[in-house]
Point group: C2
Chain length 158, copies 2
Amino acid sequence: MTISSPEIKQRMAHFEQVCRTSGIKLTHQRIEIFREIAQKGDHPSAEMVYRGVRKRMPTVSLDTVYRTLWLLKDLDLVTMLESAHEKARFDARLSPHHHFVCMSCGLTQDLNCKEFDNLKPPKSAKALGQALITHVEVRGICFKCAEKEKTASDKTGR
Amino acid sequence: MTISSPEIKQRMAHFEQVCRTSGIKLTHQRIEIFREIAQKGDHPSAEMVYRGVRKRMPTVSLDTVYRTLWLLKDLDLVTMLESAHEKARFDARLSPHHHFVCMSCGLTQDLNCKEFDNLKPPKSAKALGQALITHVEVRGICFKCAEKEKTASDKTGR
DNA sequence: TTAGGTGCAAATTCTTTGCACCCTG
DNA sequence: CAGGGTGCAAAGAATTTGCACCTAA
């Protein structure tokens, strides 16, 4: 999937604005790396971004791509699929169920919900393949992390 | 979360039966590794399983834990959270949307669905923390992989 | 000008593999 | 007893880090 040109422009403008606001330097590398993600809708990996950017800028290094990607993520300019950084985790429960994932510490807890169990894949999924499982992931902040953040903000005032 | 004793027994029985059916040897290591996952509901990582099993069997090696975990997964005796093996993947689309993930090749495609957008976190999530985002992941087989499997089965007859 | 950013190469972390010995069936 | 399974140590893959040079503001 390729993103339409006005949409890309808007994304680039937003990117530049956020960088300025955050006092982050607008380097060639950062611009090209962000553009690479902004103009592609196929959820590229760091390696894929690297290869794409190298076409236009043959000297970028892979580690700059990584540093920039995490930076963009911290600035909420991109989102991440699959919790990279996370190790594989296993579950012996085979019956369908859902998850609550803490966005701060990554703790994953089972979530039982009849309503979710009964969700049917939408028509739009039919265009992509054969849908088998509909799994809901509720993301939020677990109580332990909420407590921690509260304590921290009491100190920093932030 | 600890799993109730009858439930564990049932899981162990199922495990032993599947191993026999598949002609997989029931070694001490495999039994203890499966038990470790079966009796815990907290989605342990390979490292955590390793530490748990070592208490009862100090000589197991981490690589046996890994080999056994992937084996259990192949036998559909355990499921995996977070697509380990997968690299981090990025997305510049910030508006909420959902995903169709191919269970065979891992291809992730955006899925638009108003019904999913409007899903509210269930009451049971309130007990775990503050819910912020409800994300649906439809898992299935994409057309490309379905085609591949079809071609393969034409040959193997499986 | 100068602090933050980059490239390089080496380090880390998680996971996999080759090989000789061991144990289940 | 035979062939799959295991432990060890070493290899791989993805990501991170230290350091000296570079460049946007």
